[in-house]
């Protein structure tokens, strides 16, 4: 008799036999563990899971997962994933990209992949630097970043991945960071979202951009600098002593003090993951004056691309046989009769 009990997997079952080759102390290790733990919690099947990546440190990720994996070319992972999903929508596809791969050379594909809304998870590891090519500044590097290619400091304005994603029409945008214990929860929310789920994961490059995110990610004082968003809950931080409100005169978000836990009196707004306008404001909050907005910022599903394409295919195919002979003889035809075929006739 077949054993019908569900298969219980462990983190070990998601580890491939490949030696992990990131620098010791790289934030990628923590993300890898968080993803492997998430797969266990989700009860995912490695045979039905595909990790697709581009090029860069983060894009080595698929080699370390014991699922199917495709390490493609620089910036194009979303395009490969599009073909994979259209060919087999049953596959659970996870994209792994970085700030250089996904926002620079592959910005075009990231944009269109999100716009089309292909059901998958896009994990963008943002370390604000090109690591694998030895430390050049990236499109998310802050102004003034000194690097081998910008010895006097970078001068261009950084891109905001989550703002880019919303601009592309994303229906799910979330943020986390490598060593955060909340990361797995964010990934699960992304997986639960049907459509293209965009997750920006701040990641510490200990060699070329060490501790770049310590200002908000350091455990000490984290509660003052991290705003973890929970749907239906007030936007509070600093142990509930401060919150975010909407200044109705200027239509801008503002930090307010909360006295005695009475957040309603302070006008703190409740997080609604389907509020697109507030989502735009949250992803653009300048850090310093505001805490870093983390967690699920926006989650409002819309029809997926593959459902639309394959639905159209199915409608076009309904009731029709794939008769090749008929297809070849389509249009205006004429017959040339053979000697022993009798008189000419129309078809």
């Amino acid at each position: 008799m077949n054993d019908m009990s569900p298969i219980t997997r462990t983190v070990k079952d998601w580890e491939s036999d490949q030696e992990v080759r990131w620098c010791p102390g790289c934030g990628d290790y923590a993300i890898l563990k968080a993803v492997q733990r998430t797969m266990v919690d989700l009860g995912s099947d490695p045979a039905k899971t595909v990790f697709v990546s581009g090029i860069g440190c983060s894009s080595r990720f698929p080699y370390y997962m014991a699922s199917y994996g495709f390490h493609t070319i620089h910036g194009r992972a979303p395009a490969f994933a599009t073909g994979i999903k259209l060919a087999n929508p049953e596959l659970d596809v996870w994209l792994v990209t970085g700030d250089g791969d996904g926002m620079s050379i592959g910005g075009n594909h990231t944009f269109h992949f999100i716009r089309r809304n292909i059901n998958s998870q896009i994990m963008l590891f943002n370390n604000e630097i090109y690591g694998l090519t030895k430390g050049q500044y990236s499109p998310t590097s802050r102004e003034g970043t000194p690097s081998p290619s910008t010895p006097l400091g970078s001068v261009d304005h950084p891109a905001l991945p989550c703002a880019f994603a919303l601009g592309a029409g994303a229906r799910f945008v979330a943020r986390g960071f490598d060593v955060s214990k909340e990361l797995s929860g964010v990934l699960k929310a992304a997986h639960a979202h049907r459509g293209a789920a965009f997750i920006e994961i701040f990641q510490n490059c200990i060699v070329y951009n060490k501790d770049r995110f310590e200002d908000f990610a350091a455990p000490k004082g984290a509660e003052d600098r991290q705003l973890w968003l929970v749907n239906g809950q007030p936007m509070l931080f600093a142990k509930g002593t401060r919150g975010i409100t909407l200044d109705r005169a200027s239509l801008r978000l503002k930090v307010v003090d909360v006295v005695d836990g009475d957040w309603e009196a302070a006008g703190v707004i409740v997080h609604d993951v389907t509020n697109r306008s507030i989502a735009h404001m949250l992803v653009e909050l300048p850090f310093g004056a505001f805490p870093m907005a983390l967690g699920v910022i926006y989650d409002d599903p819309a029809p997926t691309y593959e459902d639309a394409v394959l639905g159209q295919d199915a409608t076009a195919r309904a009731g029709k046989a794939a008769d090749l002979g008929k297809l070849l003889a389509k249009g205006q035809t004429w017959k040339v009769a053979g000697e022993d075929q009798g008189p000419l006739s129309g078809v």
């Binding site: 199917y68 495709f70 060919a87 075009n108 003889a329 035809t333 004429w334 040339v336 053979g338």
Partner: protein, 625 residues
């Protein structure tokens, strides 16, 4: 729907008709010349004549009216004999305005017939065409026969009862002209009338107006209003093998061949494309064939088009992408990944004039180097080429076969001429096709249940493994990999071994393709004319004529550009001289020299126009002198 042909053996109208006639329709790009040519082609095919066409149009969609660069032309060569080219010089030129006359009359045979719409030869239009005097009124056209009448006014008159606006009424001019042409060549109008009724089903007034114009043009010839200058000409049907026929363009043939190839492999087909001239027609055609297991995807760019196709192949479908030169260049890196990961993929390159944007609507064969060599690293892949619109069907099937059987990307070369040109095509019997079913690994192929995604068979081919298959999880990518396991490994010995293995696999395909045959002539001799692709027609006719004149010359036409057929080197060594006509600066010639140390001589043309028969005949003369 098949149409009944005229009874064979019915008496011809004329007794000394030529074997073939070349007609060129030329007008403003908004005059509907391509449509007129297309319908005349269909009528020619239905009359049982063999034919070849050459649509030649500007890159601008609606170039400024009346200008020299806005002229659109459509040439057709048809006859009661075997036709393989669109003809060197036209016998008849239909010129709808002064610009069309000016840009095309030079090609007309001495004594040829000009039919011109005198209604369009206004002062303004003459100026636009840079004429200082009206050529219809001086004797500058004396070496041709001129028949000028006011087609515009005659058309307006014929469609008067339908109350169309002046602009709409004038748009029926092409049908009036077509009607006259149908009379000249003794054609049945009914198929055209059926077509017009279908095309304008939602607007019956336009259908009736166009039919009236068609009939008026025909009647104009019939009632001898043209003063006996033109005689009705009937060309007998060409003897053809029994069967069902249709006309087909190269773009149609490629699309059908891809669908047939995917069916023979037992695979759904995924087509990722991006709009580009002259390749877009393949995307358009396939988008209408969904019931044959086709999914089409218009990607955001050329790179995404090929990447999505590779993604689909990885997931177990037959990935296909298509483009023209500049787009193929963009796909180069992804092609390398397909070679490295060893996934099946068909890439169609409808070549056009280059470099860069070059000549988007003109034909050229200058992407051969790009197809054979144009990637970083040692990155071999099979390259096949189509010689004619109909041949593109068979070559597309061959491309699918090689891709699936050898787990490799394959480049299929056509060109702007093949893509747009039409010829009669005998609809093949699908039961004669040989299937080549794709197989997928279902169980672990290594010791102790280990998956070895890069374990090669006797032909050096790795297994195809669909993600989703239980127990076969593995990772692939563009980094060099260990033998069998596919694990990351860029040690010196591994790279040497894998580079050798990839090369050996592609070289080995030579044992699985047909031996090279001599198309016309003998397998040894004084001169072999070696061609590939769309130069087939003019080479074939030139060699035929030279042989008829007693010259020792043979025609070899190569389909498999890479790897080359195993016997080609020995075959070429059997000739004293080798001539390679190409629409580039000598790319295949160089490949042949490199591969066989043969003294192949080039004949090159890159004017955006196909070779004429005469040009190749002259080169043959030169080589034999």
């Amino acid at each position: 729907m098949a149409t009944q042909l005229a009874e064979p053996g019915s008496p011809p109208v004329n007794t000394n008709a030529p074997e073939a006639v070349v007609v060129r329709f030329a007008g403003d790009s908004g005059d509907g010349m391509q449509l007129t040519g297309g319908q005349f082609t269909l009528s020619t095919a239905l009359a049982g004549n063999d034919l070849a066409t050459f649509p030649d149009f500007p890159a601008e969609i609606r170039a400024p009216q009346g200008t020299l660069f806005g002229v659109s032309a459509f040439q057709i060569n048809f006859g009661s004999t075997d036709i393989t080219t669109a003809g060197d010089a036209p016998d008849v030129l239909v010129a709808m305005n002064p610009a069309a006359l000016k840009t095309n009359v030079g090609a007309l045979k001495p004594g040829g017939l000009i039919i011109a719409d005198s209604g369009e030869f206004s002062k303004r239009n003459l100026e636009k065409a840079k004429y200082t005097a009206n050529p219809l009124e001086d004797d500058s056209l004396a070496k041709w026969r001129l028949m000028a009448f006011d087609i515009s006014a005659l058309t307006l008159e014929s469609v008067k009862p339908f109350g169309l606006g002046n602009k709409e009424a004038l748009r029926c001019k092409n049908m009036w002209t077509l009607g006259l042409a149908l009379w000249m060549f003794d054609r049945d109008r009914q198929p055209l009338i059926d077509w017009l009724n279908g095309k304008f089903a939602k607007n019956p007034v336009l259908a009736e107006a166009n039919i009236a114009a068609l009939n008026a043009g025909h009647a104009f010839g019939e009632t001898a209003e043209i003063g006996g200058q033109v005689k009705k000409l009937h060309l007998d049907p060409v003897p053809a093998a029994p069967g069902l026929y249709r006309t087909i363009t190269g773009a149609e043939a490629v699309s059908l061949g891809l669908v047939a190839g995917a069916q023979l492999a037992g695979l759904p087909i995924f087509f990722g494309g991006y709009p580009i001239t002259p390749a877009s027609a393949i995307l358009h055609n396939l988008a209408r064939m969904k019931e044959y297991g086709v999914t089409t995807f218009q990607a955001e760019d050329e790179i995404a088009a090929i990447a999505s196709a590779i993604g689909a192949s990885y997931a177990g479908q037959l990935g296909v992408t298509s483009s023209s030169g500049p787009g193929i260049a963009l796909k180069g890196e992804a092609l390398g990944l397909a070679v490295m990961t060893e996934l099946p993929l068909v890439v169609v390159n409808s070549q056009r004039g280059g470099p860069s944007t070059g000549l988007p609507t003109k034909t050229e064969q200058s992407d051969l180097y790009q197809a054979v060599y144009g990637r970083n690293g040692d990155t071999p892949m099979p390259v096949v080429s189509a010689r004619s619109p109909g041949d593109a069907f068979d070559v597309a099937i061959e491309a699918c076969r090689l891709a699936v059987q050898f787990m490799t990307p394959v480049m299929l070369l056509t060109d702007g001429y093949i893509a747009n040109a039409a010829e009669p095509w005998k609809v093949p019997d699908t039961s004669t096709f040989t299937p080549f079913p794709a197989t997928f690994l279902e169980e672990a192929n290594g010791p102790e249940g280990k998956v070895l995604p890069y374990k090669r068979d006797a032909d050096g081919v790795r297994p195809w493994i669909k993600p989703g298959t239980p127990g076969l999880m593995h990772r692939i990518g563009g980094i060099e990999k260990a033998i069998d396991t596919g694990d990351l490994d860029y040690s010196p010995a591994t790279h040497q071994a894998q580079t050798d293995a990839r090369k050996a696999k592609i070289d080995g395909i030579a044992a699985h393709i047909p031996a090279q045959e001599v198309d016309l002539g003998t397998s040894t001799g004084k001169l072999a004319v070696v061609g590939w692709g769309s130069t087939y027609g003019p080479i074939h006719q030139a060699v035929k004529r030279a042989r008829a004149a007693g010259k020792d010359v043979s025609h070899i036409h190569v389909r498999h550009i890479w790897p080359l057929p195993a016997n080609l080197g020995d075959l070429l060594k059997g000739y004293d001289k080798v001539l390679v006509p190409e629409m580039n600066t000598g790319q295949f010639k160089t490949v042949l020299r490199d591969q066989y140390l043969v003294d192949a001589r080039p004949l090159n043309k890159v004017s955006g126009q196909p070779f004429t028969i005469a040009e190749i005949e002259a080169a043959i003369e030169g080589m034999l002198a």
